[in-house]
């Protein structure tokens, strides 16, 4: 348990320094990640034996185009390897028994939380959508029909609602295709407005996976593919969710990943003292463990690479910088994914502008 915890912590603290390529980390193997682990992720995600209401099923508000395509894809689920993704009220329902690597205890983390795209319950008024996912091709298709509650220009769907739908579909694809959890970048180019009540078909594909980031593209078009509504691309941070087992294990994860979890100012302030300082003390205690673990495993892997030592040096710099940021109370998603000054990671998509 301890070793596994440290390995995970090590992986997350120094992954960015190593080239995305033919190396295999102790606990995270890109080669095997898309094999049996994806199947188990998908089956856990789909929760077939559950009483939860599945919103991704036809109802009276669906237009004929949507029903036709839905049945067409349903046929494909039988033979061509497509999977229809269920859609529950909260993302928490999709990942039961998994622990988020976060120390968040906001009061809103209760049963009344709804996923944004399923909060308008009245049929046909808000988001009507269903996502079909193809595990081996790492592609998704989303059938989306915006309702009157999503309106902005009269008679057309709100740009923001479409952005949310794109984010939702791309997030689910990123999660199932490669454990992508947080959106790092979203670039949407709106070409045409979507008429309210009409169908938009979102085609999503994973372009590449590099340096713990997934690059995904999405094109939204009309049923007959004559009109393109939007073209979008997104980048996601890969973060493995672990089983909710021992307390120490999750503590290791928490200590190494605290930087991505913003302190909950309400809960911390209520316990007295400055939130940043109290957190920093506990983090500083954990840091030496992370560093030791990081140095050990990274040197094993880097020994095969010619410029491994150089990268190790950069990794150390990155960790020290990260360590400073952690002591200050928080760390950005960027630092977790891309250490500064590392040419191997390139400019990535993080730096790309509009």
């Amino acid at each position: 348990m301890m070793r596994r915890g440290l390995q995970v912590a090590a992986r997350l603290s120094h992954h960015g320094a190593l080239p995305g390529g033919p190396y295999i980390l102790p606990t995270f193997s890109p080669a095997s990640a898309f094999g049996s682990s994806m199947d188990s992720m998908v089956s856990r995600f789909c929760q077939e034996k559950t009483d939860l209401k599945n919103y991704a099923l036809p109802n009276a508000s669906w237009c004929p185009d949507m029903l036709n395509l839905y049945h067409k894809f349903l046929e494909k689920t039988k033979a061509d390897g497509w999977i229809r993704l269920p859609s529950f009220k909260s993302n928490r329902n999709h990942i039961q028994e998994l622990k988020l690597p976060l120390v968040l205890t906001v009061s809103s983390d209760k049963s009344d939380c709804h996923i944004f795209t399923r909060c308008i319950e009245t049929e046909g008024q808000g988001y009507e959508y269903v996502i079909f996912f193809h595990p081996s091709k790492k592609k998704s298709v989303c059938l989306f029909q915006p309702g009157p509650y999503l309106e902005r220009p009269p008679g057309f769907a709100h740009g923001g609602s479409l952005a949310a739908m794109i984010d939702e579909t791309v997030s689910k694809t990123a999660y199932l295709a490669g454990e992508g959890l947080f959106t790092l970048n979203l670039n949407i180019r709106f070409k045409n407005l979507i008429r309210m009540g009409s169908l938009a078909v979102l085609n999503v594909g994973v372009e590449k996976v590099e340096d713990q980031k997934l690059y995904i593209s999405c094109v939204a078009q009309s049923t007959d593919q004559q009109t393109i509504y939007t073209k979008a691309s997104g980048t996601f941070l890969q973060l493995q969710l672990e089983e909710d087992s021992s307390q120490y294990y999750t503590l290791c994860l928490q200590e190494s990943l605290l930087p991505t979890a913003l302190p909950t100012w309400d809960t911390l302030q209520s316990s007295g003292g400055c939130p940043g300082n109290s957190q920093a003390e506990s983090r500083n205690l954990a840091l030496p463990e992370v560093r030791r673990g990081g140095a050990g495993s990274s040197s094993q892997v880097c020994s095969e690479s010619a410029s491994g030592l150089e990268r190790l040096g950069k990794a150390k710099e990155a960790r020290e910088e990260a360590g400073v940021a952690r002591a200050e109370g928080w760390l950005s998603l960027e630092k977790l994914a891309v250490p500064p000054g590392n040419a191997a990671c390139g400019d990535g998509v993080l730096g790309k502008g509009g």
């Binding site: 944004f116 009269p154 923001g160 949310a164 984010d167 949407i188 913003l262 993080l350």
Partner: protein, 235 residues
């Protein structure tokens, strides 16, 4: 009957009316007619504090209301839906007459369709000199993505709304052509963020804007975004 998006139009008209000293009602004959009709509809302004607003949000709101006193800042009222003459023109120009009226009559502004505190709680302030909009936003439990955090799409919606408003005040009805958002940190659910949007340049009829999403004390940068808006008439 068209009732949504025109909330923005009404706001714009009110803003321009106030600035020029004329009363909003006098500039909108449709509105005047409605006021004298038996069916008196006084739209609710959602950009005002309600019980679900957290302390942070109220404090910020008060700070900005103080800034409004000298006229450099304006608070933009926000309605769920509104029917004006301009939206009728939009309808006849862009839509065909076969559009089902019942469908449109149910329409409401997307971001105001939730009960107090559950979804989007926000107010937008505008500074004409700096061409800047500031949106104070509190995301409720119905906007969840990753459990405990705000959905990326929800913050994208708010960025789109703020950036859109920043372009719409000088530019009239605009449509977002491009939105590029870099998420730096996830936003915890039910926290308050300040979305700051700035008009960078106008090239021909295109508006280029940038936007940042920060925490209340401005120490944490949650996201950065750039956007391009186009006036709808050129589409």
């Amino acid at each position: 009957m068209l009732r949504s998006c025109t909330a923005a139009l009404r706001t714009l008209r009110a803003l321009r009316g106030r600035r020029e000293g004329a009363s909003p009602a006098a500039r909108d004959p449709v509105l005047v007619r409605r006021w004298f009709s038996t069916e008196k509809v006084i739209p609710k302004d959602y950009a005002l504090p309600n019980p679900s607003w957290s302390k942070d949000l109220r404090l910020l709101f008060d700070q900005f209301m103080k800034k409004c006193e000298d006229g450099s800042w304006e608070r933009l009222p926000s309605y769920k839906s509104k029917y004006t003459q301009k939206s009728e023109d939009f309808k006849t120009y862009f839509l065909d007459s076969k559009l089902v009226k019942e469908q449109l009559s149910q329409a409401q502004l997307f971001t105001r369709g939730y009960e107090d505190g559950l979804g989007f709680e926000y107010v937008i302030f505008y500074n004409d000199d700096e061409k800047r909009t500031v949106c104070l936003f509190q995301g409720g439990p119905y906007l969840q993505g990753v459990p405990g955090f705000l959905h990326g799409g929800a913050i994208a919606t708010m960025i789109d709304a703020t950036v859109g408003m920043c372009a719409a005040i000088p530019g009239g009805i605009v449509m977002t052509a491009n939105l590029n958002i870099n998420f730096k940190r996830p936003i915890p659910l039910c926290s308050v963020v300040v979305i700051n949007s700035q008009l960078d340049k106008i090239e021909g009829r295109k508006f280029f804007l940038s936007c940042t999403v920060r925490s209340v004390d401005e120490k944490i940068l949650y996201s950065e975004a750039t956007g391009k808006e186009l006036p709808l008439s050129i589409l």
